[in-house]
Symmetry: C2
């Protein structure tokens, strides 16, 4: 009786990455498909020490129901880090702890989107966002992502044409392309948005993982009223504990997000919030992040070099300055979905471009992840993929 | 610019209990308002042992991203427990781990409810459910809850009149009333629902906490196709880790719930799932639950006895057979909200009836929690409340 389901769920696709997982669970397969951090980057012993300390120092309090907004010391630590990194004046009241930053997208959808509201997203854009916001049945409009950020002319035209509810961006090492917005683009986007009432989401799970170039200020940090930052400990401490956050100085919005959070799961896992907070208080996060960046720099170089060595010259790739992904474009007339099927037979996997677009299309692009394989495995995988490309 | 918010969030109230928390954070106040388990019931040392074992045995795997459905060994343990307690044939594939059972309500809303769909809920009903499902903008219809369960005639009439999408129940030690459905009522409700396509939710966070009488079979266990059970470790192990679950043998529904879960937060905190699973594998949960039940039996008796001793005779109360709450009814013409304000001044708190109803009304009922205070504190709190009632 499928007619019993909601329209929203009938119009929301299963994640393509989920389906791919079935292929990649075979141990023979070299997978560049997922978005997994390298497990050697998890500070396991330090987290173990922290969890014991949390139990010893807090006893039953660490196991009880807690506030919806999140653990105050953790919110203070996050606020302090924004101040330290970017000079941003953020109060703990501007921070809401979420069950991973995926939940942040759901809460924003709940608080802002009415059916058929217009929203803007990078083209290509993060598939988890497309999925999360699809449940609120908006009209998506993709804005082309260029080497240095969104296409400003298209953005300006779309802001005028649609008066969109929100614009979703990943300005640092974007998912799926690995591209980063330039300082100039950030400023231009901010100035444009100031003339509208459109909310800006800057989703920044990878921002700490810059292994070349310099940190750039957030788009919204130039005094944009409806500015929302999303952050996460998934890529710098551990993803399994699902601790992310929303940061916004728009207190009316924060009020609505708290109601949405309360209705959605009351509060985020409190024990894990305490553990992460204790970890931050007793360890040098910067030092830990330096190690992850050095690791990912090596792995990204291994992938870029292998591609330059083995791929045909007519395949374009992005060169990431940080994060976890690069983006490849096949020659015109080639289908990356077809390539995916051929590659599966050679035991190498990636994510074809299709699920990163909000419209139906045949894509000649694909996403490669380099963080979850060592350099040798990366070279072997790229060799396999090159063979498939040349023989197709 | 409030017009930017979604209609759904504008029509969803902040939790009344949240507001009450402001009053009850004052240490002078004796609070019967919350729904907190007694912290002395948390198996802290055993959980500490489990978390260390999880780290030692699983290493980085316990900290990585994980599957949306949940940790397979934990789902097997939950399935086995349904088999042991009720003879139910449940497979791990029928179990989806959620971020507390509050999230289960959100996922069900996502998967099933279109705007203006009709849904039935106990009157009075659990306010967290009213809040969670309000976000999906249904038409609520309350069905009177009698001493032995729903009013069958009203239920039958509402099923005919509205062809509702779902019926929400808490058949064991209901929140807010503490009432339990009789075996006969359960059977009658199941037979009625079999003639419809209405989904049945049986939310059962307290079912394990029966301190008098005998366990009764679930309403849906008599072969109801669209049957959904919700469960939680919050009241038997720890609420702070937010581990709950949805159990349904309706595989088409499960498929949609998994999409909704993926979009909402990818998966539930994986480390905590591993810890709870390890705890269950290495400890006698039944023995632990016996201790909690003995504690709550004593505390509930303390409250019932204090009420009989100190309250005026014209106040009716329910006598719970388990769970965490009892329900009081003041004489006609009395407002429990007014009583709440007076009681606050005497440093004693409870939850007035209003937020447990989906329609606007003036209530002469209120909910009392007995699990989070010792017997002496309960007696002192009831004395204070009795004084307020007599002097008003």
């Amino acid at each position: 009786m499928s007619e019993m389901f909601s329209n929203r769920i009938l119009n929301t696709k299963k994640s393509f990455i989920r389906e791919i997982l079935k292929v990649t669970q075979n141990k023979e397969v070299i997978s560049f498909a997922g978005g997994l951090p390298n497990p050697i980057s998890f500070p396991i012993e330090a987290l173990k020490t922290s969890m014991n300390r949390v139990v010893d120092e807090n006893g039953s309090n660490a196991f009880q129901y807690a506030t919806t907004e999140g653990y105050l010391p953790l919110r203070e630590q996050i606020a302090t880090r924004y101040k330290k990194r970017f000079g941003l004046e953020v109060s703990p009241n501007d921070i809401l702890i979420t069950s991973g930053s995926q939940q942040a997208l759901d809460l924003i959808g709940k608080a802002l989107i009415n059916k058929d509201d217009h929203i803007l997203i990078e083209k290509p854009g993060y598939l988890g966002t497309i999925q999360a916001l699809s449940l609120y049945e908006p009209q998506f409009h993709g804005i082309n992502l260029l080497e240095d950020g969104l296409d400003i002319q298209s953005l300006e035209a779309a802001l005028k044409a649609y008066a969109p509810k929100l614009l979703y961006t990943v300005p640092n090492f974007q998912n799926p392309t690995g591209l980063t917005y330039s300082k100039e683009k950030r400023e231009a986007i901010c100035e444009l948005l100031k003339t509208t009432s459109t909310y800006l989401i800057e989703d920044d799970p990878y921002g700490e993982l810059r292994f070349s170039g310099e940190d750039l200020p957030y788009i919204g940090s130039r005094g944009l009223e409806h500015s929302i930052l999303l952050g996460s400990f998934s890529k710098i401490v551990t993803p399994g504990m699902r601790i992310g956050w929303i940061c916004t100085k728009d207190s009316k919005l924060m009020d609505k997000l708290i109601i949405a959070k309360q209705a959605s799961d009351l509060h985020t896992n409190f024990f894990s919030q305490c553990v992460i907070s204790d970890y931050l208080a007793h360890n040098d996060l910067d030092e830990h992040i330096r190690k992850i960046k050095s690791l990912y720099k090596e792995q990204s170089s291994a992938m870029v070099n292998a591609i330059k060595t083995y791929f045909p010259g007519n395949i374009q790739i992005t060169i990431p300055e940080g994060g976890m992904f690069l983006w490849a474009t096949l020659p015109e007339g080639t289908s990356s979905l077809e390539l995916f099927d051929l590659a599966s037979k050679e035991n190498v996997a990636f994510v074809p471009g299709e699920p990163f677009y909000t419209e139906e299309l045949t894509s000649r692009t694909f996403r490669l992840n380099y963080t979850n394989s060592d350099s040798e495995t990366i070279e072997e995988g790229i060799k396999r993929l090159a063979k498939v490309i040349k023989n197709r």
